[in-house]
């Protein structure tokens, strides 16, 4: 398969001016400027094949967004090389922009006071779509993303999940070859997350759009991507299949229960540990290698008066910590 993204030893260091405290510190900083360097991305190398969905994950400050911004030509790297669709992003940013799309979960490209349809029309002009091709594509996306009832409503009146559906549809109008998604499900509820994931997955499978996804949410990765790159402090810690990540690090799930009665006795189950039990709340961690999650849930539901239940993956910070432990063990064994 041809590669649509190639990254070799990419590095980005931000420089910040250090200001002293108080009036004296400020005056001194003018006379003698001190700089503090932050290495956001360190020696990063990976590649994405055509039509592949790759997850780039890591905790806050790991360098995920900085990587996306360099690959879309927005930021210049400090050193290293990258080619996206065969071009160097920061040298041919505008040409690249015609062929890729970027969605930032925390930034909107839709005009806030106007219906999303107006932004669609503007993007058709900006991406130089032929009127007939635009009409056809728009109708197709409106149908797939079920946007018809939303198109006449001002964006400011849409829910976050509805807005995100419009954002992704807007990004796909010009049939990009690569879709960069930076935290597309941030702040969404469970149902909206599922909808967004299934729509992105559908576009990836049906249209062969390569996807580079960054997320804090292990669920996004499991449902959308086959391969995952984990970075922390700008360095690659793991680059392998999601199934390997799952087998090694995502086998622990967290079950959060709200009970109808307080201080209930929790049944003893193999592979299930009580993390917290207080009043009506109960938090359990399940090792799914020992106890499949369905069986654990069924057993708990059978004996406890459950009012509400949430199942989550272990937080990314825990996964990263487990990776560090593994690396330390490997070094120790050597």
């Amino acid at each position: 398969m041809p590669q649509v993204v190639e990254v070799h030893n990419l590095q980005k260091t931000f420089r910040r001016r250090v200001r002293g405290a108080g009036v004296r510190g400020i005056v001194r900083s003018y006379l003698h400027t001190e700089w503090h360097s932050i290495e956001a991305v360190h020696d990063l190398s990976f590649a994405i094949e055509q039509g592949e969905a790759l997850a780039l994950i890591g905790p806050n400050g790991a360098g995920k967004s900085t990587t996306i911004k360099m690959l879309t030509g927005i930021l210049y790297p400090t050193s290293g090389e990258a080619r996206v669709l065969g071009v160097v992003p920061w040298r041919e940013r505008t040409t690249l922009a015609m062929n890729i799309a970027t969605v930032f979960g925390q930034r909107s490209q839709l005009w806030y006071h106007l219906p999303a349809g107006e932004t669609f029309d503007l993007l058709a002009r900006i991406y130089e779509l032929k009127p007939a091709a635009y009409r056809e594509r728009r109708a197709e996306l409106v149908r797939r993303f079920e946007l018809e009832p939303l198109l006449a409503t001002a964006v400011r009146k849409l829910s976050l999940g509805q807005r995100m559906r419009c954002e992704i549809a807007a990004a796909l109008l010009h049939r990009p070859q690569i879709l960069f998604l930076d935290e597309p499900t941030i702040g969404l509820d469970v149902i909206a997350k599922q909808t967004i994931r299934s729509l992105i997955g559908e576009m990836n499978h049906n249209e062969g759009v390569a996807v580079l996804l960054t997320s804090h949410d292990a669920g996004d990765i499991e449902r959308l991507c086959k391969r995952v790159v984990v970075i922390n402090q700008g360095t690659v810690m793991f680059d392998d299949r999601v199934s390997t990540l799952r087998r090694r690090y995502l086998r622990r799930k967290v079950i959060d229960l709200r009970l109808r009665d307080a201080d209930m006795q929790v049944p003893l189950l193999a592979g299930v540990e009580v993390v917290k039990a207080k009043g009506y709340g109960l938090k359990l961690e399940v090792d799914t290698d020992v106890q499949p999650i369905e069986r654990a849930v069924a057993a708990l539901m059978a004996v406890l008066p459950v009012a509400d239940i949430t199942i989550e993956d272990a937080p990314l910070e825990e996964i990263i910590a487990a990776m560090y432990r593994d690396q330390a063990h490997a070094l120790h064994d050597d």
């Binding site: 590669q3 931000f14 360098g63 930021l75 015609m98 062929n99 806030y112």
Partner: protein, 280 residues
């Protein structure tokens, strides 16, 4: 194996880019029209200014000698003020500071990922906003002038001349203010520079009274600087249409825009290397 050789779509030429700027201008207009009430409220300030100055000039008995001093009658002076105030108040300060804030916060990064150069996006948005405000202020100002001092002989040619110069001056004014905003790649806060520029625009451009009424020393300074072409000349043509003056003002405004492109492009090219954005 890379995908080199596969055809990439490339952005089109000047015509398509102009179409994109026009599309941004139109959507900005529609977006601003979503708040007509807010726009109308802003015109209250204009009404207040026009009313105050009319009273002031009558009270100081300026009317008697005004024709000698400025070449304008008192009615013409008020209509001149209508035009200069529409020019001044339509200069959207918030948009200048938006560019400044986008550069400093790194939000510029989110606009750079589109096949429309960042300055051209803001040109479309800035012109859309300014045209809307200018039209509104001019219309409201004309109604106020009609009520307060009565009509003057406005010719369609004069309106066409002054508005065409105003339109070109909007582009020149935008180029310089955008260049000032781009200095925020290096300067913490460009508010001071913008304030200085706007005050020079007001005072040396002849916003309150025509340059012909200035004290000689100040008039000499104002006539050596380009601000007169952004304010005085379009307003003068509104009241006193004159083809040679129109041609001179048009040439000067085009020169202001072309000369301004140099610092703008230089600052933008260098500034792009300084884009810094945190997160993730």
């Amino acid at each position: 194996m890379t995908i080199e050789g596969q055809t990439l779509r490339r952005p089109g030429g000047l015509l398509l880019t102009t179409g994109k700027v026009w599309a941004v201008l139109c959507i900005t207009l529609r977006s601003r029209l979503a708040y007509v009430g807010e726009l109308l409220l802003r015109t209250l300030f204009l009404i207040l200014i026009l009313f105050t100055f009319t009273q002031l000039w009558h009270a100081t008995n300026l009317g008697k000698n005004v024709l000698v001093a400025t070449g304008f009658t008192i009615q013409e002076l008020i209509w001149y003020l209508v035009f200069t105030e529409a020019l001044m108040l339509s200069a959207a300060n918030a948009r200048e500071l938006e560019v400044d804030s986008e550069v400093r916060s790194g939000d510029i990064a989110y606009r750079l990922g589109r096949p429309l150069p960042y300055p051209l996006f803001h040109l479309g948005a800035g012109l859309g906003e300014r045209l809307l405000r200018f039209t509104l202020y001019l219309l409201v100002g004309m109604v106020v002038a009609l009520v307060v001092v009565g009509p003057i002989q406005l010719s369609p040619m004069g309106v066409l001349m002054s508005c065409s110069i105003a339109l070109v001056s909007f582009v020149g004014d935008w180029i310089w203010t955008f260049a000032i905003s781009l200095t925020s790649f290096w300067i913490e806060d460009t508010f001071g520079l913008h304030l200085l520029y706007r005050r020079a625009f007001m005072i040396l451009g002849g916003m309150l009274i025509p340059l012909s009424a200035y004290p000689e020393w100040l008039g000499r300074i104002a006539r050596t600087l380009p601000f007169q072409y952004l304010v005085y000349y379009p307003a003068r043509l509104f009241v006193h249409p004159d083809l040679p003056v129109w041609l001179a003002a048009l040439g000067a405004n085009l020169a202001i825009a072309v000369v301004g492109l140099l610092p703008l492009l230089l600052l933008y090219r260098i500034g792009l290397r300084f884009v810094s954005t945190q997160g993730g």
